[in-house]
Amino acid sequence: MIPGVMAEFLGRASVAVASTRDARKVPHIHFLCGWSVGDDGRSVICLVPAAFSDKLPESLARHADFAMVAEVIGPHECYQFKGRHVDSRPAGAADRAVYESCRQRFVDAVQRHTRNRFADAILRARFREPRLAVRFEVQEIFVQTPGPAAGRRLFPPEG
């Protein structure tokens, strides 16, 4: 199970990015436009825009390893969630609320952090419309907040 505090964190995170790898172990980056904890409490559903979803399901079918980093912009509170792909589907109306919520959190966080330096439109443009909803089961969670403790595994606890 994803610890409650981590689930709560995902509800606060303002940006998330996933990475996968191909047959040559070349990593690929997928900028997410939404994320939420699955109903099973063990998986995370990632919304992926079209620009980052080219051949993604096929790749994940062969190489299921999945890593997602999420951060609260400003305090730089950051964790990496690692696991294995479970399934993918086209993003739909059910995902809209998550998308918009995540996007708004992103815009608000950046504007707060940069004192409204950017136009909302530019920031919203970073969160493109989702095309895919990719679900992965979380097996490990690592601290990714910058500092000497970065890389420490939180879940399952080390030791």
Binding site: H76, H113, T114, R117, T145
Partner: protein, 548 residues
């Protein structure tokens, strides 16, 4: 195409601005003006927000803000240590730096800081320093101001609005900063030169004043010497008697001779001091110093030191080297009065000097050579002293190269009237008295006296007479003649005796009152040396009326 045109136009404008800045900076050597031109360009022309100029203070290895633009209050005087912040790091490394997204950097650092604190490592954290500039700046550019490899300062630009300065911005700022560095360097050199010149001018002016002062002092000294020279003419040796005419003739011969030692003999009060001065001031040495010392006035070791000088540390209290009278009188004359009182050890040293013209200072090892004429005087019978072994024979003959013997007044009483009238004129002028002459009776009595104290005694008598005179003609009663005192009848002790100290005190007080506290005159009234009078003034605690 339009974009290309715009870029070209922008570049042309920038070049034009830079050329203008270069021209204006090169046209001035005034630091404040340079700062103004550069900061105006940054802020008003390029619109780069906020700019600071910091100069290196080499003494404490820190940068100091000297000018700013775009701030509510430029942080003038604020200091940045080398290595601190963007400014200090640029200064230390002497490389330009451009940083942006500082709010993100600060947030990142804060996140790391929290993590460190949570993990118990707060001790490793440093404090956040107070640095000049905007606390919420988003982007900064710092350019080291270099002259060759030498750091002069840092030029700093920052912005709240811009997330980051572009490379092009950095290039523009760097160009202006380089112009600034050269201009500041030249202005500092110029200012340094100005200060040095002002300091030199100040030194020259002061030295000129000193020289002028010295020149004036020298002029005064020369004038005094000339006055003294005029005062000490042969005619000052007053006397129409044959013996005095012969004496003056002898002195005229002596002054022309190159002889380096003269011995003047004569009883007290015959004018040995006057003769010595005439011998000096009528000679070719007149413009050089005439130094006097009384050999009986000092203990032998002090006398030696006065005469020959001493080196530092030669004895206790010898804190610095001192030149003696011989050295000070180089080129002139030294008058050694009462030479008969000189001790044996010093006689030997004096003899060596007379023979070799060199001497060693007390405590010294090096010989000093001087050109000095020694005029010695004594009222003692040196021949007898030589026979009795109290004066060195070789020194006696060395001194006696040119002997001058001054006759006692008793041997030329015919000169008494001449002398009396001379003194009368002098003292009536000095005291403002209207005494015109001395009666023939008084003159006859004066002529008949023995005058054991010689001319000095006669002079004192005339001085006292003029001082106490009430009429225009001095009569016999005005003079205290030496005759009665010589017979011992001047004072008779009463049978009941007296308090001698009271008498002594009374006489001293009266003499001082009569002489209006002129101690020399008072001493003469009492017929005693000044030292004796000084001793008694101190003994009785006497003070002049206006200081009592």
């Amino acid at each position: 195409m339009a974009q290309l045109e715009q870029e070209l136009r922008q570049k042309a404008e920038e070049v034009s601005v830079l050329r203008s800045v270069s021209t204006r900076i090169n046209a001035t050597l005034d630091l404040e003006r340079i700062y103004d031109i550069v900061l105006h360009t940054m802020h008003d022309v390029f619109g780069f927000g906020h700019a600071l100029i910091l100069l290196l203070d080499e003494e404490d290895d820190a940068l100091c803000v000297v000018a700013g633009r775009g701030y509510p209050e430029p942080p003038l005087g604020a200091r940045v240590e080398l290595g601190m912040g963007v400014i200090g790091t640029v200064a230390r490394k002497k490389k330009m730096m451009r940083v942006g997204n500082l709010s993100e950097q600060r947030a990142y650092a804060a996140a790391v800081r929290r993590q460190v604190e949570q993990s118990g490592g707060a001790g490793a954290l440093g404090s956040i320093p107070a640095l000049p500039g905007l606390p919420d700046a988003e982007s900064q550019v710092a350019i080291p101001l270099l002259i060759g490899e030498r750091l002069v300062g840092v030029f700093f630009v920052e912005s709240v609005a811009r997330t980051v300065f572009s490379e092009r911005d950095e290039t523009l700022i760097a160009i202006v900063a380089n112009l600034c560095a050269s201009a500041i360097h030249n202005a500092q050199l110029y200012r340094g030169e100005q200060r040095r010149r002002e300091s030199l001018e100040g030194t020259v002016a002061e030295r000129t004043r000193e020289l002028q002062r010295t020149h004036r002092e020298l002029s005064v000294v020369h004038e005094l010497r000339a006055k003294e020279a005029r005062a000490y003419d042969f005619d000052e040796i007053v006397g129409a008697s044959p013996v005095m005419r012969e004496l003056r003739a002898l002195l005229r011969k002596i002054v022309k001779s190159p002889a380096s030692t003269i011995l003047i003999t004569g009883a007290n009060g015959t004018g040995k001091d006057l003769a010595a001065k005439v011998l000096h001031y009528r000679s070719s040495r007149a413009s050089a110093p005439f130094m006097t010392i009384t050999c009986s006035a000092l203990a032998e070791n002090l006398l030696e030191s006065e005469l020959f000088g001493h080196e530092r540390g030669a004895f206790t209290d010898a804190h610095r080297r001192k030149q003696g009278l011989l050295e000070l009188a180089d080129g002139g004359s030294v008058f050694l009065d009462e030479i008969g009182e000189m001790g044996a050890s010093l006689q030997a040293k004096l003899l060596r000097f007379l023979e070799e013209k060199t001497f060693k200072r007390v405590g010294g090892s090096e010989d000093t050579r001087v050109d000095v004429r020694v005029i010695a005087a004594t009222n003692r019978d040196l021949e007898t002293m030589v026979r009795e072994g109290r004066f060195r024979e070789d020194l006696y003959y060395r001194l006696r190269v040119l002997p001058v013997e001054l006759p006692p007044l008793a041997a030329r009483t015919g000169d008494v009237p001449l002398l009396v009238r001379l003194f009368l004129r002098r003292f009536t002028r000095e005291f403002g008295k209207e005494v015109e002459d001395v009666s023939p009776e008084a003159l006859a009595q004066l002529e008949a006296c023995d005058w054991p104290g010689n001319v000095r005694e006669l002079r004192n008598a005339v001085e006292r007479a003029v001082l106490l005179a009430e009429g225009r003609i001095l009569g016999p009663d005005d003079f205290r003649l030496p005759g009665p005192r010589a017979s011992g009848d001047a004072f008779r002790l009463m049978p009941g005796g007296l308090e001698f100290e009271e008498l002594e005190r009374s006489l001293v007080e009266q003499a001082l009152e009569l002489a209006r506290w002129n101690r020399a005159r008072a001493a003469r009234l009492l017929g005693m040396p000044r030292d004796w009078l000084r001793y008694r003034v101190e003994k009785f605690g006497l003070e002049p009326p206006d200081t009592a």
